[in-house]
């Protein structure tokens, strides 16, 4: 059950963190009441990396949607399912990588699609939000059962400059 933290080794791909352990690893139950604390952590983690208030709002939303989908579709709203979330900071040019894993029902990743938003109806917005927000998002079914979702978001040019500036600006009038 604890394996996902360690199986990352030698499997991760994007960017400069090959083999690097995640800065923060979380295991939680598939309980909607736990979404708020995870959002709060995501927001502060992204702030530390230099994302703007606006982007942090969207990153928080995207992670919430991904977790809600695992709870709703993967675990069919049962609260005792396990979910793992790993958070990495990416350097050069700066960003974050978040990997979610679960042991719920696994579906063909090709079926996870955003719908046409012109057709106005409640629901079916989560995958759209995730794809629109992230620089990269990809679902896989895990060999041992369940799904793995990999999310990557790079800093924008503006956020990069802001973040560099806030360092040099320090203690200056």
């Amino acid at each position: 059950m604890h394996r996902p933290f360690f199986r990352q080794r030698g499997r991760v791909r994007s960017g400069d963190f090959m083999e690097r352990e995640p800065e923060i690893s979380i295991r939680l139950f598939s309980d909607p009441q736990l979404l708020a604390p995870i959002r709060a952590l995501m927001d502060a983690f992204a702030k530390g990396v230099g994302f703007s208030e606006k982007t942090r709002g969207l990153l928080t939303l995207a992670l919430d949607e991904a977790l809600a989908n695992v709870i709703r579709h993967g675990y069919e709203e049962r609260k005792e399912g396990l979910i793992w979330i790993n958070f990495w900071r990416l350097r050069e040019p700066g960003g974050i990588r978040v990997v979610l894993e679960d042991l719920g029902r696994s579906v063909d990743p090709a079926l996870i699609q955003s719908r046409n938003l012109d057709d106005v109806r409640p629901g079916g917005l989560g995958v759209h939000i995730i794809k629109e927000t992230m620089s990269e998002s990809s679902w896989e079914s895990r060999p041992g059962g369940g799904m793995r979702l990999t999310l990557v978001k790079w800093l924008s040019e503006e956020e990069r400059q802001q973040s560099a500036q806030s360092q040099s600006e320090n203690t200056r009038p």
Partner: protein, 113 residues
């Protein structure tokens, strides 16, 4: 972990005003749904949803607002959103829902919209 969303309800003239406070996510969207259903039973001329105390809303929350709008249209009730905070605005924008709703800046303005 049992902090249900509190939804205040009040009346102004022929309008019912609902004011939820707190984050609206999967664990709490049903509070909105219940509050809307109850308000609709009173057959108001307009239903004003004051979101000024909601700092965050996910797609479960957006879905309940779309449902409420559709319910209101069927019942010929004017449905107006008020006081949208920045992160909630982002959620409306990214899902292209902004144009769908009547949006007012203040409750005052919404009673006339």
């Amino acid at each position: 972990m049992n902090q249900e969303l509190v939804v205040e309800q009040s009346s102004i003239g022929d309008a019912i005003v609902l004011r939820p406070s707190g984050d609206i996510d999967m664990s709490r969207a049903s509070s909105i749904r219940k509050a809307v259903a109850e308000a609709m039973r009173a057959q108001p001329a307009r239903l004003i949803m004051d979101l000024s105390h909601v700092a965050y809303m996910d797609s479960s929350g957006l879905a309940t607002l779309v449902e409420a709008l559709q319910h209101a249209m069927r019942s010929k009730v004017k449905f107006i959103l008020v006081g949208i905070t920045p992160r909630v605005k982002s959620a409306f924008e990214i899902t292209k829902l902004t144009g769908l709703f009547t949006i007012a800046t203040t409750v005052e303005e919404a009673t006339k919209a």
